[in-house]
Amino acid sequence: MSIKKISKIQPNNFEFNDENFTLAEKFISNYPKGKQKSAVMALLYIAQKQNNNWIPLSAMKYIANFLKISYIKVYEVATFYSMYNLTPVGKYFIQVCTTTPCMIRGAYKLVEACKEKISKDEKKLSSTSDSSWIEVECLGACVNAPVVQINDDYYEDLNKEKMIKILDKIKKNEKIQPGSYRGRKNSEPENGRKALIRT
């Protein structure tokens, strides 16, 4: 992991929309009075959701003023956590897990697929700029390795061909089905449930 780079192209302005504004206030009210700065992570997440899945500097400034803390404090948090994106990402944001269990089950083949279909380097937008990919640490679904997270959903039990199919569908803006791609239900064994069955 290296330090996160800040996008060179930055929007001038950022403000929560009405819905997110009330949501932000709600998060702040979760904390005792005077401890409003504890809500910084939640607010960064809201800002990221609102701004196409990435946080511009103007949003950090806005949040700092919102919580009455200094800019650097928000900046520190935003650069610390890997799930805050500080550069624009695609509409389809693909996170490939390459931690040991997934790696053993062929995660790097999926990375290859991404390199072929999206862009040569991670964190870089595809030519149609609708998708980007990134290698991430354990997504916590090792039983269904190798795993890929696209936006909010997990796509499991993949191999290179299946990955390419998914990426092709994305390109055509077709709907893709989350879950196991080997016909498993959740993380049950492939040939049916073996334990915890009622006898």
């Binding site: 290296s2 330090i3 996160k4 200094s70 650097i72 900046y75 520190e76 650069t79």
Partner: protein
């Protein structure tokens, strides 16, 4: 009291101390990087590990509170091994560039790796490289050397009050930076250079100038403001290379302002090194004797009441005293003053012109009111103390008029003298606050003492505070904030000879009523010259020398011994660290020689004689009782806080390139490309 055992030494310590402090009291040295007495505890460098009985692992002594019956060991093989391990990790990513590092020779990491480290590295991998960060014209960064102790972050946040430095990223990739690499906007910023235990933050103006062991160190007193910070002047030959703070818990603790630290390069520029005389609008070199002769002739042909003198803002007390004697005995004139602006001062009582609350007790206060003062620029260390008070007991702070960012929140009151009258007449909310407050502090700035009704305002506030028992044996609430190092000393020595506390000398000078004017290091005088013969005695070619007909080269504060009285009224001695350039002489010597030229007799036999006479004068000083006629001269007017040009406030600062850079940075001026 707690009973603790450190290395088989029994000792009793106060409650609330940490293990590290207990070990120090037992005389056991604990190596540390992140721990600092004045900052909060971080506990992230792990260098201070010690062994505690019943603990399977070594503990970080700086973050562990001491408790009763604790048994600590600091000299066991386990501790030694732990320190070696920590040291090895710290050095894993630390570059081996000590020979080209400015911190070399005074580096905590270097010293501690000699004592506690191992002699070779087992780290074969590539070292981490961190890009340099811009932190302004004072701080040079070499972030690869950073060991992430976070002292600088904590300093900026807790002491300086500017939340601008932070750590971005995480783990090995953590980087210390200002927000988007902006300049640190603080007058205390360069203290992070002293705090940095490694060479990550070093001094930009001092870069590659000298090694610490080559420098001659002289302990001295600062004259950039009236605080009288304790400093150490490091010289290499004649040149003052750098200025560092010296610890004085009662005054500056261990911080100094940026001007104190970096105006020293102004001691090299714009110096006057030979006597000069103005002929046909150009200055020509002249021998000392001829210069004295010229003055002698002028004085002979002028009646003594046509001769005036003004002393300067950096003048030391010996010079002030000999100037006073010179005017009394040689010239026999009373037209001597120290004020270059029309400032009201009542020197009958010393409490009328000093900062009565001791600086180290400001943090006890529960109410602070600033009247016509901007402590951030006028006295940075004082501002720090006010901030400490705010942090400690959430002190309510009020200011007449908006004076800008002060690093602590304050409430703004309308800057009208009418409000002061309302307070005095118990008609304002603040009256109640003052009455209820146990330890209020009222700070009167020079800007207030300049206004027309300053006499009324000052005396009424004093009366009001006395009436409400806020000025008593235990607590002095009325404070005057002086801006210059020489101000209090001048008043102590009664340099303001005028009868009714107004600066009549100044107004007469400005009305061109004198024929000869002596300027003793006085550079802030604003007047239109006509036919006066102006003699300037001082160190720098600045405003004073510009209007002078005869210039005599004097010395700066690092080039002569001299007493200074700080704003609290503490007398301190600044020691000579260097010597005057060229033909320049120490200030007192010039006056002494001039007197002997005129009268054929020295005023004082030597410096010791002068010192003793001056101290004797201060001791025996009888307050002359002038009648301070208190006519009710109330006037409704604005209390305007003068814009204080922090980086250009005196001759040395104005001659300093570093201060100019800082000022430009502050004004966001773009470089013209012609500054060389």
């Amino acid at each position: 009291m707690l009973k603790v055992k450190v290395n088989d030494i029994d000792l009793e310590i106060e409650e609330g101390l940490t293990v590290l402090q207990a070990c120090e009291q037992a005389g056991a040295e604990i190596p540390r990087f992140c721990y600092h007495e004045k900052l909060s505890i971080a506990g992230n460098c792990r260098m201070c590990l010690v062994e505690m009985e019943k603990s399977p692992k070594p503990i970080a002594s700086c973050a562990m509170p001491a408790f009763d019956g604790m048994k600590i060991k600091t000299n066991t093989p386990l501790v030694e091994k732990a320190r070696k391990g920590v040291m090895e990790f710290l050095l894993a990513n630390h570059p081996l560039d000590c020979p080209v590092c400015d911190q070399g020779g005074e580096c905590d990491l270097q010293d501690q790796s000699m004592f506690y480290g191992i002699d070779k590295s087992r780290f074969k991998e590539n070292k981490r490289e961190v890009p340099e960060k811009y932190m302004g014209p004072l701080i040079k960064t070499q972030m690869t050397r950073c060991i992430h102790c976070t002292r600088c972050i904590r300093f900026a946040q807790e002491i300086a009050g500017i939340d601008e430095i932070g750590a971005i990223g995480r783990g090995e990739d953590m980087q210390i930076t200002t927000y988007l690499e902006k300049t640190m906007e603080s007058e205390l910023s360069a203290n992070v250079v002293d705090l940095c235990p490694v060479g990550a933050l070093t001094s930009k103006p001092y870069v590659f100038e000298a090694r610490p062991w080559e420098l001659k160190k002289t302990e001295s007193i600062d004259v950039m403001d009236a605080i009288g910070s304790n400093i150490r002047v490091d010289t290499y030959g004649w040149e003052v290379k750098r200025i560092l703070p010296r610890i004085n818990e009662n005054i500056n603790e261990e911080w100094i302002s940026d001007k104190t630290r970096y105006a020293c390069d102004g001691l090299k520029n714009q110096r006057i090194d030979t006597p000069l005389i103005k002929t046909n609008n150009t200055y020509e070199k002249i021998e000392w004797n001829n210069a004295f002769n010229k003055i002698f002739e002028k004085i002979k042909s002028t009646p003594s009441n046509k001769i005036a003198g003004l002393t300067g803002d950096l003048t030391n007390m010996e010079t002030l005293f000999i100037v006073k004697e010179f005017f009394n005995k040689i010239i026999k004139s009373k037209n001597l003053d120290c004020r270059s602006e029309n400032i009201y001062v009542n020197t009958n009582d010393r409490k009328n012109y000093i900062f009565n609350t001791p600086l180290n007790r400001i943090e006890e206060s529960d109410l602070i009111i600033l009247v016509g003062a901007n402590p951030r620029f006028e006295a940075t260390i004082l501002n720090l103390k006010i901030r400490q008070s705010y942090i400690k007991n959430k002190t309510e702070i009020y200011s007449f008029g908006d004076v800008g960012e002060l690093t602590y929140p304050y409430k703004i009151i309308k800057n009208k003298t009418d409000i002061i009258r309302e307070i005095i007449e118990d008609k304002h909310d603040l009256s109640l606050a003052i009455k209820n407050s146990k330890k209020p502090i009222i700070i009167l700035g020079q800007s207030l003492l300049k206004i027309k009704s300053s006499k009324y305002v000052f005396n009424e506030i004093k009366k009001y505070l006395k009436k409400n028992n806020k000025i008593n044996e235990d607590w002095q609430s009325l404070n005057v904030l002086s801006n210059n190092a020489s101000t209090v000393g001048s008043y102590d020595l009664d340099i303001n000879n005028s009868e009714n506390f107004d600066s009549t000398v100044l107004s007469k000078i400005q009305n061109n009523e004198f024929d000869i004017i002596f300027l003793f290091g006085q550079d802030n005088l604003k007047f239109k010259k006509k036919n006066e013969f102006v003699v300037y005695i001082g160190s720098h070619g600045d405003n004073g020398a510009e209007i002078a007909d005869l210039i005599l080269p004097g010395s700066a504060y690092t080039e002569q011994d001299g007493y200074y009285t700080n704003l609290e009224g503490k007398i301190q001695k600044a020691y000579r660290a260097s010597y005057p350039p060229g033909e320049a002489k120490e200030d007192w010597k010039i006056i002494n020689e001039l007197s002997s030229f005129i009268k054929g007799k020295n005023l004082f036999i030597n410096k010791k004689d002068l010192d003793e006479s001056m101290l004797q004068y201060l001791k025996l000083k009888k307050t002359k009782k002038f009648n301070d006629i208190l006519d009710n001269q109330f006037q409704s007017e604005d209390i305007l806080v003068d814009h204080f040009d922090y980086y250009y406030s005196n001759v040395i600062a104005r001659a300093s390139l570093t201060m100019t850079q800082c000022r430009n940075e502050k004004l966001k001026l773009n470089k013209t490309g012609t500054e060389g």
